[in-house]
Homo-oligomer: 305 residues x 2
């Protein structure tokens, strides 16, 4: 494959950027890959592991030399990177990002550039791992996983094609959604569950004798709270950046939980059965989607009460 992008620069090289660099090695997508990161230790690792060819200390200079840029910094740091891109990027440089909230990225672009530039293609790979950081990266992270792109009316079809082509090289399934739809769905299926898991573990941790509680927690608790081990700064930023959609999802959930609480208090077996059966059936349909399509990941496995 003939490279279409020259130098591909990763601004922020964590789990996602590192895995993307690994997946693109040897594909010929970029002539050269470079990275900048706030932590130099990550860059040292990336250079030694051969993920990137260079790790310039001067971000402005690195931006000026890039033919394409993948922005992989925490959601609320994206605007600052856009400022540097506005000041230093060459005309024609294609930019995409991997932030978990797309409305805030679009708003940052509007603030910095006056309007969302045609060469900016907002994106969000639906993949992650228990551990964060470039050290946890792996080339297969995106295989059979969805990458959502949220192009706008003025997005350059050529830029979109380049970003789509990049992700397809990783084995991902690329789908397009509108910005608000992405943020609404992710609030319900990702951001809300993270807040619930964090709130649950924190409420147990603040109990007296919490060590005893965790000591007798069953293995199902491990699955349920897995996402409470996620990166703190990333999820602080997501919570702030997708506020409106998260509050809406949270209030819908709280209403349903209040109904469940009332049923428990009143000994209302019928309502409990109804809610549990409806949820069980819905999850069955969800598993069918998973089996049929992307995000299949690991198979269902044992869980404990």
């Amino acid at each position: 494959m003939e490279s279409r992008v020259g130098t591909l620069l990763f601004v922020g090289l964590g789990l996602i950027g590192g895995s993307l660099a690994r997946a693109l090695r040897g594909t010929g997508f970029a002539l050269r890959m470079t990275a900048w990161n706030r932590s130099r230790a990550s860059l040292q690792y990336a250079l030694e592991a051969g993920l990137v060819d260079d790790a310039p200390a001067d971000l402005a200079q690195a931006i000026a030399e890039a033919g394409m840029i993948v922005v992989g910094v925490p959601t609320l740091a994206v605007a600052g990177v856009f400022e540097l891109i506005r000041a230093h990027a060459r005309p024609g440089t294609v930019v995409t990002d991997v932030a978990s909230v797309k409305g805030s990225v679009v708003a940052a672009a509007q603030d910095v550039f006056g309007a969302v530039p045609p060469w900016l293609v907002p994106g969000h790979p639906i993949a992650g791992a228990e551990k964060s950081g470039v050290e946890a990266s792996r080339a297969e992270l995106f295989v059979r996983h969805r990458v959502i792109l949220t192009p706008l009316a003025d997005t350059d079809p050529a830029a979109l094609a380049i970003v789509r082509g990049m992700w397809e090289l990783t084995g991902a399934e690329v789908v397009c959604m509108d910005v608000a739809g992405h943020d609404r769905v992710l609030a319900m299926t990702s951001h809300l569950p993270h807040l619930l898991a964090y709130a649950l573990v924190d409420s147990l941790a603040c109990q007296p004798a919490s060590d005893d509680i965790f000591r007798f927690a069953a293995g199902g608790f491990r699955d349920f709270t897995r996402i409470a081990s996620s990166d703190v700064v990333m999820w602080r930023d997501i919570s702030l950046a997708n506020r409106a959609a998260i509050l809406l999802a949270l209030d819908g959930f709280t209403d349903r939980l209040a109904a469940v609480r009332a049923a428990v208090e009143q000994g209302d077996a019928g309502t409990l059965e109804q809610v549990f059966a409806r949820a069980r059936a819905a999850r069955g349909r969800y598993l069918q989607w998973l089996e049929q399509g992307a995000n299949a990941g690991a198979p269902e496995r044992e869980r404990e009460e």
Copy 2:
């Protein structure tokens, strides 16, 4: 090992009873194993798979012939089985159960027998699987998993020793707790998470275009909602049987969630960071407990946002 129990009867043969029967085959713990179940299809399977030696249709007769009984029916059906045991069991028959709530089992025993009999040892194996039913049973289900026994002041030490010995033959780690402590810990670490998972999936399933929501849900959602695939009747009964402890746990969680909601609404980054970091650290300690002791199960694996 010389059998100490003669005929071991399973009243209710699902995932737990079936796995226990499999684990005890060939250990010599019982001379004979029999089972009664509401669904005869499960018994047919158990007979054909060689899990039990006989599946008598007459439960009263089966109880009269048993030297030891494992009650494995849904929590709120335990009292009915106790009635039959009171009417038909021979003196000296040791009885244990596997219900997820122990206070309601003790209350049922007090109702039926006037007091908790010395030969009744309430128990709860902390193990389960995605799929329920005897067809999903396996001999290794309890290996390195905790079994909690909640003996009372009048429990016969010989009966306790027999029940403990039975579970230890399966590879489980047996621990004793008081009834209220068991129900409080399980409410927080198992019953509450189940209600949250059911409520979340149901609240999403009742959204317009819910199929699109589930279609774009990430894999982390699968782990978080795994327990929403649990058996409906079992969890209806648990919700009703452990009402007080569940309401307490639920209200503690709801308070914490309200604080998280306020922080999101007010853009209070500091509080969000604090809650997330505290939860992340607590889960890290929990994982250490898992690694050191029982319930280790499968290793941590990939999750998706």
